[in-house]
Amino acid sequence: MRAASQAKLAAAQNADGGWGYFPGKQSWLEPTVYALLALADQPDGPAFARGWKLIRSWELPCGGWRGCAAVNEAHWATSLVVTLHAALDVYDGAFERGVAWLVGLTGAEGRPLSRLAHWLRPAIVEFDPELCGWPWQAGASSWTEPTAHAVMALRGALGHANSPEIATRIMIGERMLLERRCRDGGWNYGNRRVLGADLPSYPETTALALMALAGHTSIQWGTMLNHVERMRRETRSPLARAWLSACLLQYRGERPAPADMTGGDDVVVAAVEAIRWERILA
């Protein structure tokens, strides 16, 4: 299955060395980094070299990476680039700048006006504004997925990057994730309760949050991983199944049996299924 996913990725690579979300589409940072992580055990291959060259050309002066050639702004998937560098043991200046950019980015809900608005009407969206994670875009509030990726990236950077704030940001990021946990025990995009109503979790974001909360003592891991297994059996979403498999691979070290379902031509699904998460997040 992993070899099939890698072959699918090799066939989907664009002429510029990157990958789009679907074959033949514009190269984006996110699918390109996932594809390179999936091909990380073939770093001398031509596909990897071309992709790596493109990624390195997308670094911006601010330390973040652009989302695609058409977008001249630092992108949330900079966290994935930091994870890629750590997976390859490349701890150079670009890595350092990426870590610094990530450490400097925080959710807008911590700003004074946002905090005042939340203090005046705390039941609109229930969350702790002291716990700021990472936004999808600078100037926006923090959400589950970018926070999970940033926590994983910074954990991989610990001991390799020269920033005293890394450990603190990881800790606050973990606390933010725990505080945004839905009543049903999982995670959705990042709102657990709005206007007095509990919101349900999603399988893919639950998997990502658990991957970021590696070993956290407040999680009952046995129960939770059994729940992840059950969700993986039941979901009809190829993307959700891929992330749930990645979560099980990270914690149990075994790649779950393939399901009777394909992700079609979705490059992110193919890549997430092929990445050795147990090594990358070890």
């Binding site: 979300y21 589409k25 989302g67 977008v71 999808w136 875009q137 926006a140 509030s141 995009y189 959700a240």
Partner: protein, 326 residues
């Protein structure tokens, strides 16, 4: 005789990168100067008691009443697929989407694309499956574009700022964007109809899940900004069964038995508001896009059923009781 390389067709031009760049530039100019419609806008209201009615017939009559032309056009149909909650009227019903596709086939559209970029979950094709679209809409997969993860181009001047917004090339290159929304209340905006449905064209790959950037800019200015970017639109609102209360996701089903359609998206949304018992001038995005009096009832030419025949007051959460039509 060989073709002159400069004499390419309009669709081929729009599909090319240059075409999208020009379309983005034109959209940018229009985003600042979209003219105020002086003529009365035609809005058709069609009764449909259930999703098993002959919806294509209803839409065909509505299209004729509004003078809709689509022959030779590249049409992007944008349903509302923000989420799928089993049994709840959150998304555009599959039967309505299938009927809209058939309508544009009958109208002679050159190409029909279905595009959506859901706001909360990333697996768009899975949501389409759960919504029944892949089962009910012929050749759905071949027609479908995930707008969250499409190629993008920048449109300058969004929502009054100097900075631009990146939008899918598929949407910018369409001759006609057809918003096919569900009639719902909305706990941040008051009501979500054809215009608010345009949030789904904003690419999640850049702005995330949810597209929080639009909330930071402000829901009203963002809806108005998107409306101005797409000058060639048509609106169809599925009010056969709508959603009241804590919409757009956690509200209750509210049968209304109507389809509302027209070429002027603001007039269609204003009409839907009146059907729902909401004052359209108290909905911020409608106020922002309308010149004084533009969406007054006397400036809209109602065709088909009168509003009174389908009026169904939708329950409002306390935060929006002030928008109730007095």
């Amino acid at each position: 005789m060989g073709a002159d390389p400069c004499m390419i067709g309009r669709r081929e031009f729009l599909r090319s990168g240059l075409g999208v760049a020009v379309a983005a530039t034109v959209a940018c100019r229009r985003s600042q100067t979209k003219p105020v419609t002086q003529a009365r806008a035609a809005v058709a209201i069609l009764r449909a008691a259930s999703y098993s009615d002959d919806l294509v017939d209803r839409l065909w009559r509505g299209a004729a009443a509004c003078g809709l032309q689509a022959r030779g056009l590249r049409v992007l149909i944008k349903p509302n697929l923000v989420e799928v909650v089993p049994g709840a009227p959150v998304h555009t019903e599959a039967a309505v989407l299938a009927a809209v596709v058939e309508l544009f086939e009958k109208l002679g559209a050159a190409e029909i694309i279905i595009g959506e970029g859901p706001g909360h979950r990333r697996d768009t094709l899975f949501l389409a499956e759960e919504a029944g679209y892949r089962e009910v809409v012929p050749r759905f997969d071949a027609r479908f574009v995930d707008l969250n993860r499409d190629d993008v181009a920048c449109v300058r001047g969004f929502a009054g700022s100097d900075s631009g917004i990146y939008l899918p090339r598929t949407a910018l290159g369409a001759d006609l964007v057809v918003s096919v929304a569900r009639m719902k209340t909305h706990h941040w905006a008051g009501a979500t109809l054809a215009m608010k449905n345009l949030f789904g064209v904003v690419p999640g790959a850049l702005y995330g899940w949810p597209k929080n950037y639009l909330h930071q800019v402000g829901i009203g200015p963002s809806v108005a900004g998107l409306y101005r970017i797409f000058p060639r639109t048509f609106a169809i609102v599925d009010g056969i069964v709508g959603m009241e209360g804590n919409g757009p996701i956690q509200g209750r089903a509210r049968p209304c038995g109507a389809l509302v359609m027209g070429r002027d998206m603001a007039a269609v949304d204003a009409t839907c508001c009146r059907i729902m018992g909401i004052d359209p001038m108290r909905i911020e995005y409608l106020r922002l896009v309308s010149a004084p009096g533009q969406i007054n009832a006397e400036r809209i030419e109602q065709r088909g059923e009168p509003i009174a025949a389908v009026r169904t007051p939708f329950a409002l959460i306390p935060e929006f009781r002030h928008v109730r039509l007095g």
